[in-house]
Amino acid sequence: MPDGPFASVAMFESVFEFFFKYRPIVFGEGTLAFRPTVATFVAAVAVVAIGVATFRTYRRVRANTRPIDRAVLTGLRLTILAVLLLCLFRPVLVLSQVVAQQNFLGVLIDDSRSMEIADRDGASRADFVAQQFGGEESPLLTALADRFALRLFSFSSSTNRITSVDDLTFDGTRTHLGQALTRAHEELAGVPLSGMVVVTDGADNAGVELSDALVPLEAAGVPVFTVGLGRENYSRDIQLSRVDTPRSILKGAALVVDVLLTQNGYAGETVSVQVEDEGRIVADQEVTLPADGEPATVRVRFTASDAGARLFSFRVAPRPDEMVTQNNERNALVVVEDTREKILYFEGEPRWELKFIRRAVEDDENLQVATLQRTAENKFMRMGVEDAQDLIGGFPRTREELFKYRAIILGSIEANYFTPDQLRMIADFVSERGGSLLMLGGQRAYAEGGYAGTPVADVLPVMLNDTAGDGEDGFFVETSVRPTRAGATHPTTQIADTEEASGARWLELPPITMVNRISEIKPGATKLLESGDGSLVVLAFQRYGAGKTLAFPVQDSWMWQMHADIAVDDQTHETLWRRLMRWMVDGVPDQVVADLPTDQVELDEPLALRAEVDDANYEEINNSQVSAWITDPDEELIEVPMDWTADRDGEYASSFVPRKEGLYEVRMEATSDGELLGSDTAYVRVAPSDSEYYDSTMQAPLLERVAEETGGRFYTADTVDSLVDDIQTVGGGVTVVEERDLWDMPVFLLLFLTLVLGEWGYRRSRGLA
């Protein structure tokens, strides 16, 4: 069954051809000319004479006519004569037609897996190819071969010459349309080329801009005729369009992953999205499917409990009558790190908050909270430090010392404690080092602590109330807390297993107190928690430079642990603080960051390697020695040296071609002056891609664009019959000028008859006949 828009185009074309003898494309390509002969001029003189006679006769007739009748009848008669005269002058269309058998035509046939999808009444896209190009009797191939010297190509990940369509295997795992056009054009350079025919579903997934391939074709005047196969919409299909997972997470971290689902034909049905961690189901989230074609975001939660490179599969069980079942599953490679991330918590006075926060994250093996607590002026108590010298002088005074941490928590400590340089360092910790900063509430925090106007205030996600500069105005409020819309789904504020349970739990929690009047977040910041009446900010965050900042102006979140309404073994307080701290250290870069553009490549497909290298002050360095140590699936170690790209400071790149299927470990290591700066490990999986099955419907807009930009035309299986004639008209190569008569167009006869009958009818109606 043809799809709507293409059917109406086809109908319009056949109606046009009925009236005007040729199809619109012929008029578009040709130029109008007249080819009169001597006899034409004799006839013309006769026609003019008749015209003059007619005019004069009508002027003289009086009878019982009104002037208007005479004018209409004169006009009609003269128009009839004019049409006759036009035909006598023999109008023609001058066309340059491609000379038969003198020109070459490139025929590019999609050889990728998506061609096997059977979405046309049970017939696959490949069936169409077999039927139209398959053998001696196949109509399209025969018609093309009659007029052109054909060169056949197959294309998927690569482009190859083939002798017949029997060479097609339809197992390509990518569709690189642009690359195919460029390759075919190169191969056919130097021969008279009429154009190229591309037979594909258009599901290009190369991920590169097509313009690079189209501009040379346009410049060379090679029109591309695209034949789109398959349907523009599946009637019954569920697809996992996208899964957003972080590249790496801490072991035991609670993941909240958005899965984007699209569907057709199953609106309103309930399906479940399952997550598998190498064979073990770790999440199962039910979702009610939205209206056809509308995307639905499903939020699934699970915990990454095993360390290492883990392959998570997200899937929706295929429905019995689904057209494409291969797009119901997506895989994501996530590195689950089992490291201990350092956080510095600085508190300006003995506070209960410190005790309870420490206690909440004490059991978390992946968090190391070094605590510095001031007990009296210049007297500090250190807890969780690495050795006897660590933090002995109080808050770090050098960037190198501070930037060892991934996150900083500032408690009730006045801005005056810090030197201007330390305040700047804290701001740089966020913006340049990419760390996280959290400020708690307290009498010496925010504006009450004198932070207004400092570099730290600049990076905070909230506006400081600078009228409260000295902390003497005695602001104090006891309030309940509720999550905002963003907070209801944010990973840090998930204090129960499901979104609903978490939202309900927040409303049950006892009130906390605040002494900092913070009611406004900065533009670009996100409010996650707010006071019960919505007037105060309880938790907000923003990205700032390379890092992020959080504001939690609460001074006694420990009430969520200690309050009499909270059961003794309740884990809410612990969960909140663990999630908050884990989220803070998540994604904070090291001195060396290994960056792979993708987590999956195919065999023999080059893998780009990229590293970003900083020194201990987190300033980019360009003269370090960087190597990628690649461990292949057979445990063989390969060293790939990496060079500074010269495009960006601190960026090093190289590439690598995997020759085995399986998991590759890529450890990038940087040294400077013989000293190790750091290393970072990334993983990549080498496996055949199944990207062919996603968004595998026919991509008409893309194919139309290719045709339009190169001067060709776009066809579907239903309109492909006119392809051969069109190439002859539009195509380049060796051409010959051809004239086509227009005087015998049915539309002239129709016009003539209409006018004559119109004149007669008018006379009848006026009683003049």
Partner: protein
């Protein structure tokens, strides 16, 4: 004695004398009247009857200045028995106030200046994660108090025990605390425990005598000859209860301003308590 101790003792003494002279808390004189005193206690009623209504005991927290404060020196009101059934109120509130005055000078902490006494079965006890209880040799808790204290400690609260002497009182306290935390053992706290180093480095455990025994002669009472510091830890190793046995730290605060009370004892008492509080607030 080393000069450092003299300096500290000097600071403490000055603070106390200053506090005494200045007649603190002039804003609401009615409230400074000791809410409970030893003299008043026997007249208050029969054993088993509530000694004071809760509203009488906690008016200080209704003041705006109590809002948003970080630390309250909180005294546990427990059910007593026998001859000294109101033993929880020993030294109250003079000791509490004098100690808080000194604490304010020594530690940069937002501590509320006034006493705060609370019953063990009051749910509001959870607002105060530090609790002080003394004279526990005469403690006979009700079941509600046992439950209240147990949940308080397990949720994260901290209890400091003081001023009980000899075998008989120990046995009574041990029996009572076993009702609260039957699954946890009482252990000795060695001097290398971080508790003895949080703010001040304490090198020896001193027997702090009551005012009556401080002028020479034996410092012990009954058969409690050796001062000891013991503790109870929870399953994760967190110290929940610190027990000062055969010593009277509270009397040292109460009489710290007295020229007749030896500095050595009040210095130790205050250093030890500051350490315990700062430890409780960070561990």
């Amino acid at each position: 004695m080393r000069p450092r101790v003299f300096v500290r003792a000097g600071v403490i003494a000055t603070a106390l004398i200053g506090a005494g002279w200045a007649a603190p808390w002039p804003t609401a004189p009615a409230v400074h009247t000791p809410l409970v005193s030893r003299a008043a206690a026997p007249a208050a009623g029969q054993p088993g009857r509530p000694l004071f209504r809760r509203e009488d005991l906690r008016p200080t927290l209704k003041r705006p200045s109590a809002n948003a404060r970080e630390f309250f020196f909180t005294r546990a009101i427990y059910n007593g028995g026998g001859r000294r059934w109101a033993s929880w109120a020993t030294d109250f509130p003079k000791a509490d106030r004098q100690f808080l005055t000194i604490l304010d000078r020594l530690v940069d902490m937002d501590a509320y200046e006034m006493e705060n006494a609370i019953q063990l079965d009051d749910p509001a006890i959870r607002r105060f994660p530090f609790l002080y209880a003394l004279e526990v040799g005469n403690m006979y808790m009700t079941q509600a108090e046992v439950t209240g204290l147990r949940e308080y400690l397990l949720a994260g609260g901290f209890l400091m025990i003081d001023d009980f002497w000899g075998t008989y009182e120990w046995e009574n306290f041990e029996a009572e605390i076993k009702r609260v935390l039957p699954e946890y053992q009482i252990v000795d706290l060695p001097l290398n425990h971080p508790l003895f180093n949080t703010v001040y480095n304490i090198k020896e455990i001193v027997q702090v005598p009551s005012i009556n025994n401080a002028q020479g002669g034996p410092t012990w009472e009954r058969d409690g000859y050796d001062a000891q510091v013991k503790g109870i830890f929870d399953a994760t190793g967190r110290l929940m209860v610190v027990i000062n046995w055969n010593t009277d730290i509270g009397d040292a605060w109460e009489w710290a301003e007295s020229p007749y009370y030896p500095l050595r004892y009040s210095t130790y008492a205050i250093e030890m308590t500051v350490n315990i509080i700062v430890y409780a607030m960070s561990h």
